[in-house]
Structure formats: C-alpha cells, structure tokens
Amino acid sequence: MKSPRIFVPNDATAVACGADRVARKLEAGLLARGITADITRNGSRGLFWLEPLIEVETERGRIGYGPVKPSDIEDLLHAGILHGADHPLCVGLVDEIPYLKKQTRLTFARIGIIDPLSLTDYKAHGGYRGLERAITLGPSATVEEVVESGLRGRGGAGFPTGIKWRTVAAAPADQRYIVCNADEGDSGTFADRLIMEADPFCLIEGMTIAGLAVGATKGYVYSRSEYPLAFVVMEKAIEKAREAGLLGDNILGSGLSFDMEMRMGAGAYVCGEETALLESLEGKRGLVRAKPPLPAHKGLFQKPTVINNLVSLATVPVILDKGGKYYRDFGMGRSRGTMPIQIAGNIKFGGLFETAFGIPLGELVYDIGGGTASGRPVKAVQAGGPLGAYLPTHQFDTPFDYEAFAAKDALIGHGGLVVFDDTADLADMAKFAMEFCAHESCGKCTPCRIGSTRGVETIDKVIAGEKREQNLALLTDLCHTMKLGSLCALGGFTPYPVLSALNHFPEDFGVAPKLPAAAE
C-alpha cells in the first residue's frame, strides 16, 4: 500500500504560526505509531487564518485540518486523520472551501498544492510548458503574446509589460538584463513572498522567458532582508534549476543562455522604486534616478533592462502556456487578467485571493474577508500599501480596477488591502504616512525629503487644534507640492493616505465633517 501523503505548509505565515513545531510533532507521533508517511512541506494555499493547515491526501481528495497547534497532533492522530477522519479542526476538502473555490487562480494555480522545491511536482502541474512554447515561438512572437495578454505591471504603476519588453528588445546592446522587483515593502502585501516560498520555479520560468524574449542572458531577483525564508527557498530553487539544465547554457536544447542570481536589500523601502532598486543592485545608495533615460534604454549598469514586478514575471508562464488571448479574456476595461488581492489587517479571513479584475471592494472585505477580526464595524480600508488611499465604506462599491480606483483618488498598487475597524484614528494614520515617508525618503528631492517632515509637524498642529484652518490649508498645499514635485512615487504618493484620511474622516482631525456629497 502506498504510504499516505501529508502536507504541512512551510511558507513564512505558516512557520510564524508554528508550522515547524507542528511538523516535528507530527513526525514524532507517526514514528511512535510505526507509521510510514510522506510529510511534504508544501507552500501555503493562502488561507492564512487556517495556518498551519495540515492536509491529508485521501481517495476523496485533500482533507484539511487547521489551524493546528503542536498540542493538537496527538488528538488528530488518535482521531484518524490519515484516513481523513472527522475532527473539530477538520475543514473538509480543501478545494471545496468557498474562499478557494471562488478564486480564479492563474498565477497562483500551483501554490500550496506542490512541494515548492520539486521540479517533478512543478512540471506535473503545467510547469515549463510556457517556456517550451516560447522557444517554439521565438523572441518577437513571445513579446507579442505578452502584449496581447494585456498584462500590466502588477507592482502598481500598471505599465503594459509587453510594451516594456518590446522597448528593451529593440534597444541596441551587447548585454541586456532582466531584473525582478521583489522588494515587496508595502504593508498588507505578501504575494511576491508567497510565489518565492511556494512556487519558486514559476518565477524562474517567467524570468527565463523574459530573457529569451528580449535577448537578456542575466537576471537578478532583488528581494528583501525581511523575507529570510523566501531568499533561502529561491536560492535552492535556482540551484536545482541549474542542475536540471533549466538555467545556464543551451536551456532545453534551444541554444538559449540565461542565468540568474538572488540579491538582498537592506531595509530601505525606497528600493522598491525601480530606479533606486537598480542603484542598489549596482552597489550604491538607493537614490532615485531621474527619468529619462528609462531603464528599458539605460537600466542596470547602463544596459537595457526589463525591470518587472515579481507577480508580473510569475504570470508570464501561464500566458505563454495558454496564450495571450486566454489571459486577456479575464478582467474588465483596461485591467486584463487576474490580480492576487491580499486581504490583511483587522480581518477575519485574511489571505491571498486571486480573481479577475472588477470585483467590488466591499465584496472582498465582507463576503470574502468576513469583516473585521475584532467583530467591530469596518471603518476604512487602505488599498495599495502605505502610500495608498484610505477608502471609507461608502466607496465599497468601487470595482477592483486600475482606472476605477484612480477615479476615486486611490490606487490598487500591489493589490494589498489593510482593513481597519472603528477604533482606528485616521489622523494618526495620516501622520504615520508622513512619518514613514520622512523615515524612508532617499533624500534626493526636496518635496519628499522636506515635505514629509513638515507634513508630520503640520498634522501635529492640526490635531492639537493650533491655527487649525491655516494649518489644514498648509497641509493640503504641501500634499499638492509633494504629489507634483517629487521625483518618485514615495514622495508623490504619500499624499494619497493623508488626503483621503482628511477628506473622508475630518472628524478624526478635529474638523467638523463635511456633507457626504462634499466629501466625495
């Protein structure tokens, strides 16, 4: 009889909630019973409120138990989880959990299902079919396939990925680079981390396809020191891909050469900005570069460089495998395909929810996320990280779409949602946004460097009621200057959280609320 296969997730969330101890306890419990079982450390399914989520492979499918504490193991084994027995922690067939079932998983199709470091698992679930097709198509048709997919940069700026690739491919050069921006510093986001930890070969394949498409032979992944596990997993995966001839020279007998390396940031948020990231990769301070020249013309070491967000690159394999048209058919308006939405903060069911663009914000917060973890009313959602706007509940009908959010003076950014209940003080959060900008500013341009420090002082005065009207006018003016005058998005977007907090929650600043119509 085949020994049962048990899955214990090994992504950072599961580990942070005790998955390593759960795995050790499970191993010991099985050993004591003389049972031989195959414990696979898979990635997470992204249903984080259930982590650690043990899954057992049965004839009916994968049965889940979670959240499991080390002290639950004996009880679970006694109940007979190896046969998918019932238990208070049993969540039934994992694939049938509504949170998972309602998703459209294209980029994240494999996460939580496979052993992240098994190439056999990866290939058994469609891995490397995209690269094989790209090799058949050749470079220019590969670029056109990505153009046709309508894929836009998932890091937040939303620039069409295919157009960027076309520019790099056309730029004359002796050397081109692929740079993966995995400097996912936004609070409320973890999609990049999850790909690296749960499906690293997907990123490797995506970068290899990008290399083939534009004629680049070298790639770098710039990740964060705050993601220690992701770094370890990626390094191991790169080594395995190299050993299997999927990186290096003559990949899959195509004559194509491509290799890649991991690089670690050092706690500077601004390095998530593409030009600051390139400076950091070159070994310099992460100072933002003025554009032009665009990185597509003069990027890493002055060579033409594709710099894409991790999720963009990890979406490329499925586009090449199933075709640009297949991908383009999901979504709404000019937001094509799917977006991994990360639901976090004060939320009952926090996790990763990949779905086609167009889903209303309120549906994500209430129907999918289950409302606040505290059980109190939702006050606001910050969308798109620390530089994204706070949306009040009366804007919850906004569909998840680049343009629809922009029309509400908001951003979808990297797809993170941080939910706040009614105890949150939005004046305090606005001040925090300015403090964060002051802390993280690279210092190159005045609006960001000086504006953020002055912003903190001015918000303090508003809260203290010191010449409130004048200081509010000054704050608004300051935000305007930062928005229009900053060299990059750090200074340029900090006004989003500040002004949205002020416009929608004036009472938190000690200002009488405006009429709802005026607050729009």
């Binding site: 969330t13 992240p116 990049d192 500077a268 505290s374």
Partner: protein
C-alpha cells in the same frame, strides 16, 4: 524518516565571530567578483561579525576601487546595516499599518516594558536589541515580529511573556 522538502527556518541566537582584518579580507575577497558587490559584501560582513565595523570601510573601498565616502554612504544609507554590535538577542517588531490595525502600538509598548528596552536601542547589559521593522509580509496574521531570526505571527502578550522568559534564562526563543 525525515519529511522530504524539509528545511528549517532561520535559526535562533546568532553567534558571531570576533573582528579580525584577516577574516574580513577573506569575506571581501569571496564576494568581490560579483557585479555590484558592495551590498553582498556588507551583508556577508554583518553575517560574520554581527555588524560592519569602521575599519572594514577602507578595506571594501580598496578592494572595489571605490572611495571611502562611497562605501560609507552605502553602509549608512540602509537601515539594516549596523556599525555597532547588537545585543545577544535581537527583536524586530513590525510597525507597519497591518500590525497597527490589530493593536500593534499598544503591543509595542508592552514589549518595551517587558524587555526593559526602548524601541530602537540595545539594553545597557547588552542582552537585547529592539528595533522596528516595516512589514514582514505576515499581514494576515498580524501583529508579527522577528525574534532572533524566528518569524512570529499572531503575537500577543502571552507570546511576549514567553520571549522575555526565554531571554531571562539565557535561552533562544523557539528552542523549546
């Protein structure tokens, strides 16, 4: 029976080497061939010694044909790099929005009291360093922290008490 695909998370209390120019020179030469080698060298030095002592600056500069000012600029620009030895235990507490949304600020105060050290400093006895960190990507199980390299999610007062007890007994959190 070792579970396959098993890798342990980054472990416990780091043990650092004492500074020596010979060892530093070795670390630098192991990494100098990389494109844009400054950051990898600084990381490697910090991993070896726990911080990047000032005498390393001219050594890096010479090895990479940079000015001392350039190396100094990089060393001081990034929040992660230390120029002084950290405490025997390092606690990094997430201060970003998702953790704030579930009471992170009050919890931070409790951590300061419990560990007897202010945010951003090292206790006078050199036992513990407490620092803010901006997002560990554990936003769906906030509040979170990185304690001696171990990720901790769903952090609460009980977990903080446990951490403080471990430190008081000279143990590393998560060894139990």
């Amino acid at each position: 029976m070792r579970p396959h695909g098993f890798w342990e998370s980054e472990t416990s209390m780091a043990v650092y080497e004492d500074w020596s120019t010979e060892r530093a020179a070795q670390v630098i030469s192991e990494n100098r061939h990389l494109e844009g080698a400054t950051m990898p060298i600084l990381h490697a030095l910090q991993e070896t010694f726990g911080f990047v002592p000032d005498p390393a600056v001219p050594m890096i500069a010479e090895s990479l044909n940079l000015s001392r000012a350039e190396v100094y600029g990089v060393l001081t620009f990034y929040h992660d790099f230390r120029r002084e030895a950290p405490g025997r235990h390092v606690v990094k507490l997430c201060a970003a929005e998702a953790c704030q949304s579930v009471g992170g600020k009050a919890l931070a105060q409790y951590v300061e009291e419990k560990l007897g050290v202010d945010m951003g400093s090292t206790s006078p006895d050199g036992r513990v360093t407490l620092e803010p960190i901006y997002c560990l990507g554990l936003c769906a199980c906030a509040p979170s922290a990185l304690v001696d390299g171990q990720l901790v999610g769903r952090l609460d007062r009980d977990a903080i008490d446990e951490i403080a007890d471990c430190f008081a007994n000279g143990k590393s959190f998560g060894d139990a």
